[in-house]
């Protein structure tokens, strides 16, 4: 087990290095001059443009620029600076925490609500409850985050506060701990909740038809034990896979939710980084996201062994 984890982590290194270079090259290939993009609606003084370009090695070819970037990280632990002169590590440290919090809250909500709804629908298969749950997931899938975010912010943030006089869900900012993340977490998780509900339902319905379930029931086990130990546990594998991959999606896709709820996360930072062609920011964020994907996948793979004793890792 230990060796397996170490081997997986070593395998991740070339993936990380490849990802940084790939992203670096993509940002490099974007059209337009990054320095000019800073200026707004006015032509910049060519002297100053030249000096900034020189400072950030923008006149060098791609490989040389990449070499400077990697050299800075390896030799000095320096992940580069933004055009505003702020070190990328400082910029991202706080923001990553916010996005990670948001994604984890979303993932937890997704897991709890998704699994419960899916379970309920599977057990009431073909009846009114099942249909109602399926219909509401369809609704969740079809409402874009942009709409659900603003509508819930207005209803639960502004109106509910007006009616009751107390603030249940803060409108914006990440200053009130877990409370700040509940509403945005739900909005972010919306579509995933719907998918997970459907996945759980299908997976469970299929499992419940298996021979071993019939055997378990015939043995006289209680319904709770049949569904919990024999049914749900076996049905969990596709769900865990989905959840693992979703952590990365939630972190990478949080830009709209973060903007609506004014959470200072990496989403908008990434968007701005791409817009202004600030390679250190984009590469830094994407590298972290790649790392999250790799770790989440590792955890998912390890979870398989926990869920299904037949799976062993050396």
């Amino acid at each position: 087990m230990g060796r397996y984890i170490i081997r997986r982590l070593i395998q991740a290194l070339p993936v990380l290095l490849g990802a940084t270079f790939f992203i670096f090259a993509i940002v490099f290939a974007l059209p337009g001059d990054p320095v000019a993009a800073l200026a707004g609606d006015k032509r910049q003084d060519p002297n100053i443009v030249a000096i900034i370009r020189d400072q950030y090695h923008l006149n060098d070819p791609l490989l040389v620029q990449y070499w400077y970037y990697i050299k800075g990280i390896v030799l000095e632990g320096d992940f580069g600076k933004t055009f505003a002169g702020v070190p990328v590590t400082q910029l991202l440290a706080g923001k990553l925490q916010v996005t990670l919090n948001l994604a984890l809250v979303a993932l937890t909500l997704e897991a709890i609500i998704g699994v419960l709804l899916g379970l309920w629908a599977a057990l009431r298969r073909g009846r009114a409850t099942d249909t109602a749950i399926l219909a509401s997931t369809l609704l969740l899938i079809s409402i874009p985050t942009l709409v659900s975010g603003f509508v819930l912010q207005l209803w639960l943030g502004v109106w509910l506060k007006q009616v009751t006089g107390t603030e249940f869900f803060p409108i914006s900012g990440a200053t009130q701990g877990l409370k700040s993340y509940l509403l945005p977490g739900f909005v972010l998780a919306g579509v995933s909740i719907a998918y997970l509900t459907r996945l759980t339902r299908t997976s469970l319905v299929e499992t419940l038809r298996s021979d071993y379930i019939r055997t378990a029931t015939a043995k006289g086990l209680s319904r709770r034990r049949v569904i919990g130990r024999h049914g749900l546990r076996n049905a969990l594998i596709p769900m865990v896979t989905y959840l693992g991959a979703d952590l990365g999606n939630l972190m990478g896709g949080a830009v709209i939710t973060e903007t609506i709820f004014n959470l200072p996360g990496i989403g908008l930072q990434l968007y701005n980084g791409v817009y202004l062609r600030e390679q250190p920011i984009v590469v830094g964020i994407v590298t972290v996201l790649v790392l999250v994907y790799i770790l989440a996948n590792l955890v998912v793979d390890l979870m398989y062994a926990v869920l299904d004793p037949r799976i062993r890792y050396e």
């Binding site: 001059d33 609606d41 100053i48 702020v86 914006s172 004014n262 908008l268």
Partner: protein, 545 residues
Amino acid sequence: MRVTKGAQIVAGTALLAVAVAACGGGSGTETGNSGTSADTPVRMELGEPQNLLVPSNTTESEGAETLAAIFEPLVNYNENKEAVEAAAESITSDDNKVWTIKLKPGYTWHNGEPLIAQNYVDAWNFAANQENAQGAGYFFGRIDGYADLNPGEGKTPSTKEMKGLKAVDDTTLQVTLTAPFSQFKTMLGYTAFYPLPKAAFGADGKVTTEFGEKPIGQGLFKLDKPYKKGTDQTIELSVYDKYPGKKPNGWTKLQFKLYNSSETAYNDLQGDNIDIHDSLPASAIASAKTALGDRYQDQPDAGIGYIGFPLQYNDEYKDVKMREAISMAIDRKTIAETVFSGTRAPADDFINPAIAGYRQGACAACSYNPGKAKEQYAAANGPKKLELGYNADGGHKEWIEAVANNLRANLGVEVTVKPFEKFASILDDLDAKKYKGMFRMGWAIDYPSAENYLTPIFSTGAIKTGSNYAGYTNPEFDETVAKGDQAATAEEGLKFYQQADDILIKDLPYIPVYFYRNNSGYSTKVKNVKINLLNQVEWADVEKA
């Protein structure tokens, strides 16, 4: 150069601009934290400042708003749009070339140092030196010796000081310009002209990062703690005890809350979580009028939006009559009211109403007259096909489409709308003479003088070094502006600038389409919120309600 908002809020708002629903409606209620003690801060919406808080590198509104609270400028602007002395006792000149600035006594830096004339010399020399790559360095271009500090790409300046800049004694500053300029005093209220204390500079003579995070000013507020860009969600300030000017009555703490989206900030304003929002989103204007009532304010903002022509290399647009026809075919009023929900006003001059020198209705061809437009366009034998370019990243699509529809309907021509990825891409194509169509253009002022709508955009010299993207050149215009620059007083100068404005109206190198408006609102907890010419709140006047 001033972009209207920090990159962050522009990006955030652009992202959310896709939102179909206007998310306004409803009005605010009391929050849990009641009480109006002096310690409860007045809270204001702000976009994230683009750079560290160094005056000479701040050319966007959000950083400027923050710095304006911390620093006292040499001049302020009164309700008649005139520059009046603030940190300066007097600003005088006999020939508009050699200016003497006397400092008002009593100002000290937040670290206790007294404010001296040398602080201005140090700050301005630092800003103007090309090696420091300061975004607002060009503001000092009129001072004698600027060229020595800016020898050009790849060259090192031979000196670190402008010869036109001298501290005669601790309270007197003498500035010599390369040529007379009657509007010099109006320039001095801008962020770039703030002084810097000795403590700002490191051993290498450059402004330190620590200073950029916690600037020491000589103004009304001092920063409570360093502002960590990217991490902090608020900027906290409190009134500086030894500030000699007018202080706010009944409150001492100010908090800027950083937002990515002005829609979200508007929801927070309704929830009484912030007190002042000075850039209400277009989607909220309709509901803000009813929800906020008297607490909603709408006033001119000095920006202008134009349609430009590549006059320099495309002869298709050479005929003034044809440009006039295009101008008359644009229904500015409907565009301002419908497309912009009233956050813009129809333009009728090359000078904005926020600035002294504006004349209502000066531009006759700017009023909507589809009948005459069609006639005149046909008579001038205008081209059957027109092209209209804009940058797709700035929320310009809707109004450009509206203009295109006006031209199609009123002139009977074929109009292609061409999106460019960024504003810089349009400029690149214009520089390379590759793009031959009309283009969207905008201007936000660097200093509140009518002259700023003329020289940087339309003078012959600005083709190479400024923002004259049309490549317009008219010796008569250049001469008239020069007469204004050399006039004995600012008022006399204004007369010449208006004459130059008349030349532009006759020649129409650009078509003015709209003037910006400033739409702001405040909560039930504050009153007497006034926003000045620079779109900054007059903090000393704000009272708690």
